[in-house]
Amino acid sequence: RRRVVSEQAEIEDRLESLIIRVGDKTSSSLESNLEGLASVLEADMNTYKSKILRILSECPIQMPEKCTIYSTLVGLLNAKNYNFGGEFVEQMVRNLKEALREGQWESARLIVRFISDMVNCHIVSASSLLQLYDSFIDAAMEQGVPQVRRDWYMYALLTALPWVGRELFEKKENDLERIMAAMEGYLRRRNTAHVAALRVWNCDTPHPQEEYLECLWAQVRKLRTDEWQERHIYRPYLAFDSILSEALQHNLPVILPPPHTASTQYPLPWVVFRMFDYTDCPEAGPLLPGTHSVERYLIEEHLHQIVTRHHNERKELATQLLAFPQRNKIPLEYMIVEVLFSELFHMPSPRYLEISYGCTLIELCKLQPSTMPQVLAQATELLYERIDTMNATCFDRFVSWFSYHLSNFQFRWSWDDWQNCLSLEKDHPKAKFVSEVFGKCLRLSYYKRVNEMVPECYSPLLPPKPEPYFKYQTEGGNSLPGATQVQALTELLRKKPTPEEVLELIQQLPNPLKDDDGDMEPSHNPLAIEVFVQTLLHLGSKSFTHTFAGLAKYHSVFKNICENEEAQICMLRQVYELWQHHPQFLGVVVDKMLKTQIVECCAVANWIFSRDMAPEFTRSYIWEILHLTIRKMNKHVVRLEKEVADARAKLRAAPSDSESSDDDPNRETGEKRRRTVSNKDTPKDGEEQPTEEMVERMEERLEAAQSDQKNLFLIVFQRFIMILSEHVVRCDTDGKDFNTFWYQWTVGRLQQVFMAHHEQVEKYSQTLETLLFTHDLDSNILDTFRQFQALRS
């Protein structure tokens, strides 16, 4: 019997592999492959039907680029076996309903597209597809629900139309026109306030940066004027027209979109990134499809899908991108580069790690050395030329990618071409870009190397040599306040003293905050902090490891002398003073201090906005530190939220002792689900059953954390508002234009906070609106908040 089972499993595996691989490169034609596979499946249908159904219904979603191949295959099967066709349609409908219910929007969209394509293969009737479209239109027209929900239903429809538009045009022209009219009405009434926050460039020259639905609508409208003929989709079913047209069609049942609930999350809108048009590509080569041609959309989507499928294997991804099926009909390198940059610059955040795009571009250069490096250089050139209108978030990503790329190619670049940045103001985005790139290159290599890589005239933009600045060893350092104690402490620390001994020494320092007559005890001793922090960090300045060791060993001293926020800000000022020429070190030390709770998030935020840091305000590293601080807080809150949710679920799922019998089926599945969620620490989890009291305590901790988080956001946004408002008022009284580079950078950084942490900020949107972003605020500042709100409206 075992042999029979294993034989069956073997056949199932073989069928699965045949289905998955159909359409991949082979020596024989796709048509004969499809025909052959359809016969094989037909023969095995009785024994393996459920397996075949499952695989066939998953493939077009897992491999959306092969959508038409699978619709053809199912079409052939339906022609042979009407019942199977019916069951397959039922299965797809079930999958669609489930995806909608579970909020798996991308799967749902691909299923709608596939169902639409099944009309082309005579599996599904056109009239029942139109019924599905009508119910989607109704969902898009629904009042009192978020626009992001309505947008999705519109989007799902629009992306299916290139597949089935021609068929509907031929058979149901009036209905198609009716749907188009409804869409037009919807698009005209839509709110697009979010666009400004999502654009990579805040300007429409040379290429309009269009909102995704509007762009797609323009492309589909153009398709309509072309009588629904497109030139990209490969449609294998055309070869089987005689067989397929004989087949009987199935009717889709009525599919009603599940109602909106407060907890449903919908995809955020985006802006279509464009950096090339046909004039950028070589004249001799194939033409780049225009921005409103549907082919541009279809090719881009196809390329994005290749990225989705192979994003974890950069070599395979690069190979697959370059092996794009219609590679000879399009300027492929340009489209690949545009698609990869569109992902890298995607707002609010890229789909995958930034470095994954960087190393894919490296692989592409290696695989296609004759063309790829040039196209990438041209792209870099364009990005640099247009950088003055690029948003701050993308600016950072561009800096980070470019320096990383250079570090992989011996830092070779034609810097001479960018000399125009030398005559610009230091805060001009071009000058800023070059100097930030130098800074990042410095982090990945070393000072001498970077110094050699750039022409001498660029030296004003070159950051100083990254090393500690220990003022006690500079000229006149001996006479600085605390200099003798610094010396004494240095000597003491070399003997590896206990924290108590260190504390004893620094507590002898006089407190400059203490006035003679007052008996108020000052909140901290700035001199003690200065002496301790400067000396300890200087001694540990050899490497991160040395510094971390010092922080760990004298943790209690920090806790003792930096109890409150003022003290912590004072301490951060000292860290900055020592590491002012080494932004990476500064960031890593602050990060470590946050992790070890030597400093609190709010103190870091207040320090960044303090007067001392004003000269550094337009440098990227400052914002890196702010974001890592906010992220730390967010992570903490998310972790506690998850803990509470898990414990609550366990508490609910746990049967009281009397009914803990093993054959309770509900319990079984609950147990299984838990195991898959946290398989790492299952054994422990399984044993420990939280009590009501424990969960309550967890909830209290969560509430406290949330209140800290809210406070942090309030501080950050309030400081932004203050500093921006002050600037506007000052310019006003001086009769100057407020719209300076400084102002643009600062607004950009404010926008960045909204975007980078939108999921967490969202929770406090109401509070922010009532307390900070009130109507009397300068409209430029208020706009950033409104754009953020519009993201999910």
């Binding site: 994954s356 190393c359 992989n408 982090r443 990476q584």
Partner: protein, 101 residues
């Protein structure tokens, strides 16, 4: 034992990083690997006799998934013009930083 070693490797969030230049610093390594996630610590490999860096190190992440990303995206790319090689490591133990030099 081998089984134990494999179990450790499959749960580890520490990488062995090799083929580095002797001049590559902890800071440079930190900068590169941080692109994949929060780095917990870096232990520079040192020459047994001279106690100077000798071309390898251990990078420990807080999360296994971040270490996985480092293997995906950093392994085989360049740092200081040398191709970085990364591999799973069962976890750093004091003493292992001393290489052959």
């Amino acid at each position: 034992s081998r089984v134990e070693q494999e179990r450790l490797l499959s749960q580890s969030s520490t990488l062995y990083v090799g083929n580095l230049s002797f001049y590559t610093t902890e800071e440079q390594i930190h900068e590169l690997f941080s692109k994949c996630g929060d780095v917990k610590r870096i232990i520079m490999g040192l020459d047994k006799f001279t106690r100077t860096p000798c071309g390898f190190c251990f990078v420990e992440f807080y999360l296994r998934s971040d270490a996985e990303n480092a293997i995906r995206f950093v392994n085989g790319t360049r740092l200081d013009d040398r191709i970085v090689r990364t591999d799973w490591d069962a976890g750093f133990v004091e003493g292992r930083q001393y290489g052959r030099g």
